[in-house]
């Protein structure tokens, strides 16, 4: 790495602009692709070795898909882009004056233009101690952790003779009824009601309770109210018990406490809690804010100019979940860009185009988000879709929405092979009610103490 300091970075001799891209999620990947044929040198810094197709991460967590089906090695993605250098490493800071990115191994790398696409992580609203007993779902490691907890909770229940403790081990709680919470709860209910049927001798997995706990008054708040209502009915039909207006006030190794709107509190004994309530931008957002003076919102997202660059730092762009960006449609009020993958992809492409404009001495363009709508899956044959078309909204729910969701997601998966395998896995899961990836690799170390007995 030392040889990659600004003086000797790749491309320095060719005098081509050097663009550094931090993160290879949807935003970083699209930005890199948009720059692949430009006369620039690109360095992509990513802290894992893969691009993750996050919309299907819940399927890895619920044992429906193997990890490699939704993760593509970054080096393979960029193998045919000779102007792209991939760097496996974690960014510890940015020095805007020196135009340097610092990595946590102490090395640094210079840039002419910087795209920060470091994404988001889960937030416990200042209660980080909850993380140990209520993992969130952002990375493959998270997904494996949740898969282990879900499957081993049933195993622990099978071995538990005390009825109360057995009931707690058959109680699964998902906190937060956004898209991730809804699909996790729906799929966990499907596992309990269908996948595991007939496999245990001392418990009935179908008697498991799957709770979806939401502080607000409806599920899928980003959706139109009529679709929230339909999603609620579908969740209940799948066997999920939805508790609205329930604020979580405590989480420990044996359960959680909620507070209802009337101030009363409730204790729920559970050994498997999934956190799907809070999302916060990568800590890099606040670092950038401090270093450049850019404003950072409550969720840690950096407020960007209409062209996605930072105020006073046109050479730095922020895209994706890390950006508090607005969509600027001609003749309309600017509107916030939602934190969804099409938003990140479009921002990545727009930031790349604006950098090329700057290099060419042209004016940059304000970002405009093309909203194709919103969709969320719930479980077997269950989804809600709110499509935005030039002729207005098209709303679907139930089986047809689920099929639409499925093909849309498979279509956007990276790689022909992955699409085929995911479709096969889904077809086989659909017909057999089985789930392919029910493997817990490192059992002894991974068993939480309270499920061991």
């Amino acid at each position: 790495m030392r040889r990659m300091s600004s003086s000797t970075r790749p491309g320095a001799s060719s005098a081509r602009p050097h663009i550094v891209i931090i993160g290879c999620g949807f935003g970083g990947l699209e930005a890199t692709r948009a720059l692949q044929r430009a006369q620039v040198d690109i360095t992509v810094i990513e802290k894992t070795n893969h691009h993750l197709f996050q919309p299907l991460l819940y399927q890895v967590a619920t044992a429906g898909l193997a990890a490699p089906s939704i993760a593509a090695p970054v080096r393979v993605l960029f193998r045919n882009y000779p102007n792209v250098t991939t760097l496996l490493g974690e960014v510890s800071g940015v020095d805007p004056d020196e135009r340097m990115v610092r990595l946590n191994d102490g090395s640094q790398i210079g840039y002419d233009h910087l795209i920060v696409a470091a994404g988001a992580t889960h937030s416990y609203f200042g209660r980080d101690e909850w993380a140990a007993n209520a993992p969130g779902l952002k990375t493959l490691a998270d997904a494996f952790d949740i898969r282990r907890r879900v499957l081993l909770s049933f195993e622990a229940a099978e071995r538990e003779s005390d009825p109360l403790r057995r009931r707690a081990k058959l109680t699964f709680a998902v906190i937060g009824a956004g898209p991730t919470g809804v699909e996790m709860a729906g799929t966990m209910a499907e596992i309990a009601r269908h996948t595991l049927q007939g496999e245990f001798r001392h418990i009935d997995p179908g008697s498991a309770e799957v709770l979806l706990i939401e502080g607000g008054g409806r599920v899928l708040q980003a959706m139109p109210e009529v679709l929230s209502q339909k999603a609620l009915v579908q969740l209940q039909k799948l066997g999920v018990e939805v508790r609205l207006n329930s604020r979580v006030t405590g989480i420990d190794a044996t359960g959680l406490t909620t507070q209802l709107a009337d101030g009363s509190t409730q204790r729920i004994d559970s050994h498997c809690i999934v956190w799907a309530a809070g999302v916060a931008a990568s800590p890099l957002g606040r670092m950038l804010g401090e270093a450049t003076g850019a404003e950072v919102d409550r969720a840690g997202r950096v407020k960007v100019e209409p062209d996605l660059s930072l105020p006073g730092h046109p050479e730095i762009s922020v895209v994706g979940d890390l950006a508090a960006a607005m969509s600027h449609a001609p003749g309309k009020e600017p509107r916030p860009v939602p934190g969804v993958s099409p938003g990140a992809k479009q921002m990545g492409r727009a930031a790349a185009a604006n950098i090329l404009a700057r290099i060419a001495g042209r004016a940059t363009q304000p970002f405009r988000y093309s909203d194709y709508g919103n969709l969320a899956t719930i479980g077997r044959n269950s989804a809600v879709v709110d499509l935005t078309t030039p002729f207005g909204h098209v709303r679907m729910s139930g089986r047809i929405a689920w099929q639409f969701w499925l093909f849309a997601h498979v279509y956007f998966l990276i790689g022909f092979r992955n699409r085929l395998v995911v479709l096969m896995d889904w077809a086989s899961a659909y017909w057999s009610f089985q789930r392919y990836a029910r493997v817990v690799p490192d059992l002894p170390a991974g068993v939480p103490p309270e499920t061991k007995g």
Copy 2:
């Protein structure tokens, strides 16, 4: 678990014999299958939640297959056997007088007949401190560990500016040239020469050295000498440097030391070492020996009677890698059963049949091993096969042997879906030279310190 002590174990009321099977590898699985329709109750105790198809584990370690492709959940395998209870747990001991199996959570379970099929683990010949820097390959967790080390060693080399340190990070050492060592070395050479080509900007992955270090005078010592010779040539053609008559005398975080036949020593700097040299029986072997007085050999295997039961304890059978068993063909000298999966499977079936014979008051049969030969894969289009047929030996090597090996392994994989996916993965790897499962889930924690810089 407490309710499963001998007085209340499942089947106690029906007065059907209770058979406990420890382990669900090839031996335990076949024994359970052989007993599925018998008038007995069976409890299978397995410490992971899956049956592992170990012959393809090296493919998970070398990123060719996803873990779920070679692992089937134990509960799914036995779902349709109502007389089988599956117990996820680890056995800590056996009490032959009380006829009790003790689990490490303190609970115990009674048996009328016991089949111990706990398998083998890797052995460092008393040098357990080597394990940290030279992992073996027995479990999925091992495979993930090795996958991470192999892939991250190339990443560390890409970031290393010092030529000597870079060379060490591009040196891969496999210790032991048995079947596992040969296939690991061959596949690692393929990854370096083909899979990673064109993906790095500062190193040529093809310049990596893959060393196969063997204490004996030839590779694949269980094979006829002519096939060892052919395997050696194939390994060298794939780019593996084979070092015979090299005894490993030290392993640390930065490399290993070998001693040649002439007493001279050699230092090899390497950050990725795989241990494929020693196999030892599960510690349960010695425990059983102490508890029953049965003889235990140097490798920790329990010497069994011709019918696979323990001397003085006809109600306990030992099968698979844990048993030092002999094959008793009529009119021939007894011969040791090799530690291969067909041996374990046949022993599992034989032990089950002998238990049913005992229950019915019939005489037990001595075990006879049907030897169909021996096969080992080396890498792309490379394998050696030594088939035993009624008309003598059929020996193959190269592409035809590889095709034979491939279809034999896919045929014995569990589940139609797995066969299809594995074939697809192989077809795609074969044509594209790519490997599907190049995903390292938990990077930051997993990076060994010496590859971080």
